[in-house]
């Protein structure tokens, strides 16, 4: 069975009861409630439920049977529109400057979807609740409590376009409607005012219209004035031209020719002056052009010349610097080569000297060893042969042998050996004495001192002998040049200032800067 969508009877209705005939009949009626409507089911004077978007099955045989069996029920269905609806009305009031102000107020209401049952407080006992009913109920309160009190606070000329005033009215209307309909199931959503022209605005409009009209009249007056002025000037010109024509008619032919010649002359003069001016301008321009070209050319040539001069100067400095570096490098290389050569020569010389010394020492050791072996062998042989001879003969033979050896030595050696020194000490003494060429008395004195030291056991080695000899020589002689034998370091001399030994070739002591005697 198709259902019938239940709506309100007209657009001005907000809520209405479904007629009782809908519940009667043999056949069951199916009624649908759309989602923008609410249906309140009232059974036996009690609200059973509120439905939004529902179907009802009403009447029919089954309902009848139920009523027969269980007794009849008083069922009513109230349908209310949940869509917002707008109502309008006129209000009037006095502004604070005493001008009557009229306005159309539009208020948007809505049945409260949260509490639709409260709408029953507005419903008449029978019939429907219309939009004008709602408005008629609210308007008296709004007129007195909102609009008039609000309008009395502003001037008439300041009302139009005053959004603050709109907001205030809306807020006041909300409060007032809330007070009125808060428990009656009606909400207010918006309020707007459309102001009619008041006297102040009307006067302002008239004033502005009058000003525009006055401006238009002024403009027309000015136009008319200029037109009259032009007519006047044209008339004067025409009159003057006519006078000139009449004057021209009265002049003679000669005067006319003179006039023409004068005009031609002035024309020719003007033309020639123009040509000359053009030529002068052209000449000036050419001069300026040449000036600019030459200046640019000179400037460029000058910059290039400066650049070239500076480049040449930089290249010259660079070349000079490179030459200096090359010279220093070459000098350093030569010096290093010389140093290396000197060093290698010195090393070779030292090595050779050491080699020769070693050979000499080895030869001396070999000779001493052979001599000792021979003497031992000879003494053993003599001992074996002359074992039986007398002790006196043995001593004589030994004395004879010693004398034979001493016969091969120098007198100094003999003297030294006689004094009890070792053969090495005696050799050193002889060698140094020969080199320094000291006289016999000093030699003997030295020898005595050496003998004395030797007997005291304080000198036994060759080094001690050399040291003693050098000390003795320094004490007896003035500072002298010492020349070392062999191929060792260069000869040195003693600096009298710092007593170090710089090479004899030094003109100044390299250790203290003192000027040496040989300098």
């Amino acid at each position: 069975m198709p259902s019938t969508n239940l709506t309100l009877s007209d657009n001005q209705t907000v809520a209405e009861y479904v007629p009782a005939e809908a519940f009667k009949g043999l056949l069951q009626n199916r009624i649908g409630i759309s989602t923008d409507h609410v249906a309140l089911l009232i059974r036996d004077g009690e609200i059973v439920d509120a439905f939004v978007g529902a179907h009802f099955a009403i009447g029919g045989i089954w309902q009848r049977l139920k009523e027969v069996l269980g007794g009849p029920h008083a069922v009513r269905l109230l349908v209310a529109d949940l869509k917002p609806f707008q109502v309008e009305g006129d209000v009037e009031g006095l502004s604070n400057d005493g001008v009557t102000v009229a306005a159309t107020v539009a208020i948007e209401f809505q049945v409260n979807p949260e509490a639709p049952a409260n709408i029953l407080g507005l419903m008449p006992e029978h019939g429907a609740l219309t939009k004008p009913d709602v408005y008629a109920r609210a308007l008296p309160h709004l007129k007195e409590r909102v609009f008039r009190t609000t309008l009395a606070r502003v001037a008439a000329a300041d009302i139009r376009g005053n959004t603050a005033l709109q907001d205030k009215i809306q807020a006041d209307v909300l409060l007032e409607v809330q007070r009125l309909f808060g428990d009656l199931g009606v909400l207010i959503r918006a309020v707007s005012m459309t102001w009619a022209l008041n006297d102040a605005e009307r006067a302002a409009m008239q004033q502005s219209a009058s000003e525009r009209e006055q401006a238009l009249l002024d403009y027309r007056y000015q136009c008319k004035k200029r037109e009259i002025q032009r007519d006047k000037e044209a008339t004067e010109f025409q009159i003057r031209t006519d006078v000139d024509v009449e004057t021209l008619k009265l002049t003679t032919e000669d005067e006319l020719k003179h006039l023409i010649l004068r005009e031609e002359l002035s024309f020719i003069d003007a033309r020639q002056a123009g040509v000359r001016e053009q030529e002068l301008k052209k000449l000036d321009h050419e001069l300026a052009l040449l000036n600019v070209e030459r200046r640019a050319g000179y400037q460029k040539a000058l910059e290039e010349a400066q650049n070239e001069v500076e480049r040449v100067e930089i290249r010259r400095k660079l070349r000079q610097f490179e030459l200096e570096i090359e010279a220093m490098t070459e000098e350093q290389r030569l010096r290093l080569a010389k140093l290396r050569e000197d060093q290698s020569l010195a090393l070779a010389s030292e090595a050779r000297r050491q080699q020769l010394a070693s050979l000499r020492e080895m030869g001396a050791i070999d000779l001493d060893e052979k001599e000792r072996d021979r003497r031992i062998e000879r003494e053993d042989r003599l001992a074996d042969l002359d074992m039986s001879l007398r002790t006196g003969q043995q001593a004589g033979q030994a004395e004879l042998e010693r004398l034979r050896i001493q016969a091969q030595m120098s007198p100094d050696q003999i003297l030294a050996i006689s004094a009890g020194l070792s053969p090495e000490v005696a050799r050193v003494f002889a060698e140094r004495a020969k080199v320094t060429s000291i006289d016999v008395d000093k030699r003997e004195q030295l020898l005595r001192e050496m003998v004395q030291l030797s007997t005291q056991g304080r000198m036994a080695s060759e080094e001690q002998a050399r040291f003693f000899f050098d000390k003795a020589m320094q004490a007896t002689a003035a500072p002298s040049v010492v020349v070392r034998a062999g191929s060792g370091p260069a000869a040195t001399t003693e600096c009298p200032e710092c007593h170090r030994r710089p090479p004899v070739t030094d003109r100044f002591c390299r250790y203290c800067g003192h000027a040496l005697a040989g300098a």
């Binding site: 910059e303 400066q306 400095k317 390299r510 800067g513």
Partner: protein, 380 residues
């Protein structure tokens, strides 16, 4: 001034032949040597050791040294430490030049080891003058020797060719009369207005180019790296030191310091001995009894064997505490290892025992921007 040019050939030969020579055996001139024990090359009195401190500045091959008016350049450089042993610490690099203010070049590295090359880039501001513009780099480097640390500044100039906005373009306005052209219009004749742009890459050098570096002595003094800014003077190595009031056996001979830029001071005597005095001093600091002039042994015993060193460094005189205690400069105590610059008129005090102290003052004689004499005058 920058090297061994202050010496004659005989001096250079003698110094090379004998590293221990202090005077030239040929002319008697004092030979001042590098402070590094492993170098000992000749050094001019106001110069630096060219073997230990040798910087080489060069332009990278991709460098562009041509610009136009208003352009900026970023010039890549390579800095090389030519020394074979000694590393250098590059403290700063400054750049200035024609129309360019002096600004520090940001460098992310500091150490420049021996025989090593490191790169940096110099940005130049917009050039405002056409022609040859100068770009000057000033490099401040520090070299540490055995006992001293010397700071030197070197500067090198680079020529940058700056062209005009368009060097070959001549813009002229010809106001041609209407009689010639029919219309009196303005025509701009600009024969080379286009087609003259060239690539910056084409201006690159293509090969590394060396930039000559010179010692910037004036810069060193003005910036306080070397010498005395207040006196506008520097102390050379050959400055004469005079010791007034010290006993004859306690002081070195008057004159320059020949053994090196350091004067050792302390209680120990000046005589080297293998056992009791292995570290002799140059200036012996002992306290004597004023009336009798005899050595106050008890008061002197409190003084350290080695109190301080006077060091010629950065063309200035420093006093460096060597340890112990009781060294004061102008009343301010110097802890071990601390060093202070010694100025003209400064008072050095060494505290002894029994409340006694040894004090002496310094005095400089300045002539023509050089300190020619430093006097140590004993006051107590």
């Amino acid at each position: 001034m920058g090297g061994s040019d202050d010496y004659r050939s005989c001096c250079r030969t003698a110094a090379a032949d004998d590293p221990g020579a202090i005077f030239c055996p040929g002319c008697g001139q004092a030979l001042f040597r590098c402070a590094a024990a492993d170098c000992r090359r000749l050094v001019a009195p106001l110069g630096h050791c060219t073997a230990c401190v040798s910087l080489g500045l060069s332009l990278e091959k991709s460098a562009v040294v041509k610009a136009r008016l208003g352009e900026c350049l970023r010039v890549p450089f390579a800095l090389r430490n030519n020394a074979s042993v000694r590393p250098l610490s590059i403290r700063s690099v400054l750049r200035d030049g024609t129309g360019l203010p002096q600004e520090a070049v940001p460098i992310t590295w500091e150490q420049l080891d021996a025989e090593r090359t490191r790169a940096f880039t110099v940005a130049t501001g917009p050039f405002v003058n056409s022609g040859i513009n100068s770009l000057r780099l000033t490099i401040v480097a520090t070299a540490a020797f055995d006992k001293v640390e010397e700071t030197y500044a070197f500067s090198g100039d680079l020529a940058i060719e700056v062209e005009g906005a368009d060097p070959t373009q001549v813009v002229q306005n010809f106001n041609l009369s209407g009689a010639d052209f029919g219309t009196a219009g303005m025509i701009v004749a600009n024969p080379r207005a286009s087609g003259t742009d060239r690539s910056r890459q084409a201006d690159a050098l293509g090969a590394r180019a060396d930039v000559a570096l010179e010692r910037a002595e004036r810069f060193e003094v003005e910036r306080g790296y070397r010498g005395y800014d207040r006196l506008a003077a520097r102390i050379p190595r050959n400055v004469e030191f005079v010791y007034v009031g010290f006993p004859a056996g306690d002081k070195p001979p008057d004159g320059p310091w020949l053994q090196g830029p350091v004067l050792r001071c302390g209680r120990n005597s000046r005589t080297h001995d293998a056992r009791p005095n292995t570290e002799p001093n140059d200036l012996c600091l002992r306290i004597y009894d004023p009336p009798s002039g005899e050595l106050d042994r008890e008061a002197s015993a409190v003084i350290s064997r080695r109190v301080c060193d006077f060091v010629l460094q950065n063309d200035r005189l420093y006093v460096r505490s060597a340890g112990g205690s009781g060294l004061e400069l102008n009343g301010e105590r110097l802890d071990a290892g601390n060093a202070r610059v010694v100025n003209d008129g400064d008072a050095v005090t060494v505290q002894g025992g029994h409340g006694k102290a040894l004090s002496f003052e310094t005095g400089f004689r300045v002539s023509s921007g050089l300190v020619t004499q430093v006097r140590f005058t004993k006051t107590s």
